[in-house]
């Protein structure tokens, strides 16, 4: 599917996750975040960069990984991305939705 965010056209799956990470940029991230009622702060960006780093290394994401990340604790993670923290944060970060049950 094609989606328009400001000046950028991106390709997404039916759930809105970018299918090509190369199409991601900070403006697109801000626009996706806004769709979820989130205004990105420095802390959000820190988490997003952590997630993207994990993705580039091919490491799976989990809530336990977040806990061990040293970037954010679980309580804060939930408050930064309300309504499903890992699925929303990964969407904003332009990476695939985690497949794990944890």
């Amino acid at each position: 599917m094609e989606k328009q965010y400001g000046n950028y056209t991106v390709h997404t799956d039916p759930e809105g996750y970018l299918t090509d990470f190369n199409e991601w940029n900070e403006d697109v991230a801000r626009a996706i975040a806004a769709e979820h009622g989130i205004e990105l702060t420095d802390k959000h960006w820190e988490v997003i960069r952590y997630l993207q780093d994990k993705y580039r290394k091919g490491e799976p994401l989990s809530i336990r990984g977040i806990k061990k990340s040293g970037v954010v604790d679980i309580k804060e993670f939930y408050s930064l991305f309300p309504g499903g923290p890992l699925k929303i944060s990964t969407k904003i970060a332009g990476i695939p939705k985690p497949k794990s049950c944890l």
């Binding site: 336990r64 499903g84 049950c101």
Partner: protein, 157 residues
């Protein structure tokens, strides 16, 4: 798309590891989807939040057809400990947290943890026997009052 699950209430009545993990993984999974979740620990399920007993939870090797093990073999000394150790090792490989750490994650994720008053009295437990993250001790009636919105579901494990 509408999701007809807003709040999931789990009743955990068993202390075997397979049951405990079923409740924990389902509750965590709900929170990860933005669904509220609470766990009501009753009967042997109380062992999962008991500071000492939680360290000794086991996979049953007797009366558990899923183990595909003859009953007499499963009853041998050390068999349950061995099966439990094997399973814990596999779970660690899959990055599934041990019980105490899982409870921390659940509490931090906003899962409310409750103990059943009658079961607590029956086993003679005290509040301080349980983890600090325990939200409180409830009667069955109090627990039903946790159903405070539409699309709340109760699952008995």
């Amino acid at each position: 798309m509408a999701i007809y699950a807003k709040k999931m209430l789990f009743i955990l009545s068993k202390s075997t590891l397979d049951s405990v993990y079923a409740a924990f993984i389902m509750a965590n999974g709900a929170r990860m989807e933005g669904i509220e979740a609470e766990i009501f620990f009753t009967f042997f399920g109380l062992e999962a939040i008991h500071k000492e007993k939680m360290k000794k939870l086991r996979i049953p090797t007797v009366g558990n057809p899923g183990m595909h093990m003859p009953t007499l073999l499963g009853a041998l000394p050390g068999m349950e400990a061995f099966a439990t150790k094997m399973m814990m090792k596999k779970m660690e490989e899959l990055d599934i947290p041990p019980v105490d750490e899982f409870l921390e994650i659940l509490a931090a994720s906003g899962v409310k943890l409750w103990a059943c008053k009658l079961a607590v009295e029956m086993f003679g437990y005290k509040r301080e026997d349980f983890i600090d993250d325990l939200e409180g001790i409830l009667t069955v009636g109090d627990f039903y009052h946790r159903i405070d919105k539409e699309h709340t579901h109760i699952i008995f494990i």
